[in-house]
Symmetry: C2
Subunit: 298 residues, 2 copies
């Protein structure tokens, strides 16, 4: 019996396809740019068919970690579609349907960040936990919120990056970069927002630049809100901006300070360094998460 | 076989005890002030024992909707306790233990707001939904977040009232009334915060007073954050402040405006009047919610 699963990390700029049993058993991996839906999904299908032949083993199921917004309602006519994305070519695009038709295997589907969170839960920094958050802070800001072992779906899905935060306009007069909300979390703290505010790419700012202290302040306010609203057992911070490891200690002390001793948990009050942490799977949270959700259905 | 269940709404100022099968079958109800734990819990025990005798029917299980913070971790040594409350007499008080010992029936236990949310899910304004929020805005602000049919527990439990919100200090220079966070949601928008800001009890302010517009702005920002972070299918707003029905249309239009069309759901864009609504059970969400959680275990 095959123990191999397929994974697609479907991003706005690139697709990553993988065949694996788990993190210790990655058998094939490919990445290619996101172009038209037909071409890009076609390439993914071709990869899985060809590789299954080469490996001489069928793939039991496929997991898809998809950029959004997506339709996750199982009873919806457009389940498995990308819906109102600003990427016009991909608006109202069926992702699950063509994959299922071509590969004839079960397909699990969720948002990129929900899947990355599940990957961290299966093999990364959230193993054994039932309630946790994976947040990516990079080109955009997005978060997967896991409650009772499952991603929150509800009406649509989480859009954690677009929460509103307190801010001091005298300290930071930047009007924000989100086309929808101006100065929401993503509008204030994504990589492009930092670049717009400081006039240079964020990664070129030295570690002692005040940009990082301000960035940590906004991230800590988001931590405060996520803790108050969803009470996670742990928060994992990934994405390009979080490669700046000097952010972590600042986020830790600012989060403690903002919470003001209100949430009386040793995990926060005494062990914040292991409460807000980097991903355990590096840049593979999404891909391995897709393997994890494929395993659940295959 | 008995179909009666017991309910306790354990509040910081009063206890409400009830025996019922459901909303159509409330057999006995009593309320008394919250004094010492021994006296107050003793009165509750006495009520259930005496009433079961009078009704000639045993109570199958008891549900408790408790003020907090509380310990909800099933494997914790202090499960079923009130923990770090500012009400000193009740700090580190075992609530479930004495009830279980005296009544010898299963006891279900959760926060007041989680239980109220479950009550609205069972018989009120959230029937048939799996993901929704019950928020009470009154003396304090608290919220129960239901995901996949269950309250979010995680590390501790939600403290939705203490989220941080954007604010314009020029428009509203009030420094906020929360002893922990100053101008968090509760610090800006609870009944006492309104009274502190305007110098008179909130309920004495006429419907056209600018206080309500400002109040609706803060509540709408909280709606925005709850929608982005937990994607609920519906949000129920109860509590004393929400008795001011003029707030609802203002909250509706401001929430739509703040979201800026980002969350593409007809439930929000077309039917916001049935998306953010008052409780279906009036002031009985908590008591009937306690009956609902007792039924799950009895």
């Amino acid at each position: 019996m095959s123990t191999l699963y397929g994974a697609i990390e479907a991003g706005g700029t690139k697709f990553v396809c993988m065949i694996a049993g788990g993190p210790e058993n990655i058998r094939a991996e490919v990445r290619f740019p996101t172009t038209t839906p037909a071409e890009t999904i076609g390439k993914a299908i071709h990869f899985f068919k060809q590789q299954a032949e080469i490996l001489g083993e069928p793939i039991k199921a496929l997991g898809v970690a998809c950029f959004g917004p997506v339709d996750l309602a199982p009873d919806s006519a457009t389940y498995g579609y990308i819906t109102s994305t600003p990427k016009l070519l991909w608006r109202n695009t069926d992702v699950v349907g063509p994959l299922q038709n071509a590969l004839q295997i079960p397909v699990a589907f969720d948002t990129d960040v929900n899947v990355a969170a599940l990957g961290e839960g299966a093999w990364g920094a959230a193993q054994g936990l039932t309630d946790f958050i994976y947040l990516t802070i990079g080109t955009g800001i997005g978060g997967g919120v896991i409650s009772g072992g499952k991603p929150i779906h509800g009406l649509v899905h989480e859009e954690v990056g677009h929460m509103l935060l307190p801010r001091d306009k005298q300290q930071d007069p930047f009007s924000g970069g989100c086309p929808y909300h101006g100065d929401c979390f993503e509008g204030l703290a994504s990589g492009p927002a930092m670049e717009k505010r400081w006039g240079v790419p964020a990664y070129t700012l030295p570690a002692e630049h005040p940009a990082w202290e301000l960035e940590a302040t906004y991230i800590a306010a988001a931590m405060h809100n996520l803790i108050c609203i969803t009470s996670p057992q742990r928060i994992i911070l990934g994405g390009g901006v979080m490669q700046q490891m000097q952010l972590f200690p600042m986020i830790h002390s600012k989060t403690i300070q903002m919470l003001g001793g209100y949430v009386q948990s040793p995990a926060i009050l005494e062990k914040i360094e292991s409460y807000i942490i980097p991903p355990g799977l590096g840049t593979r949270s999404g891909g391995l998460g897709a393997i994890a959700i494929a395993r659940q259905i295959g």
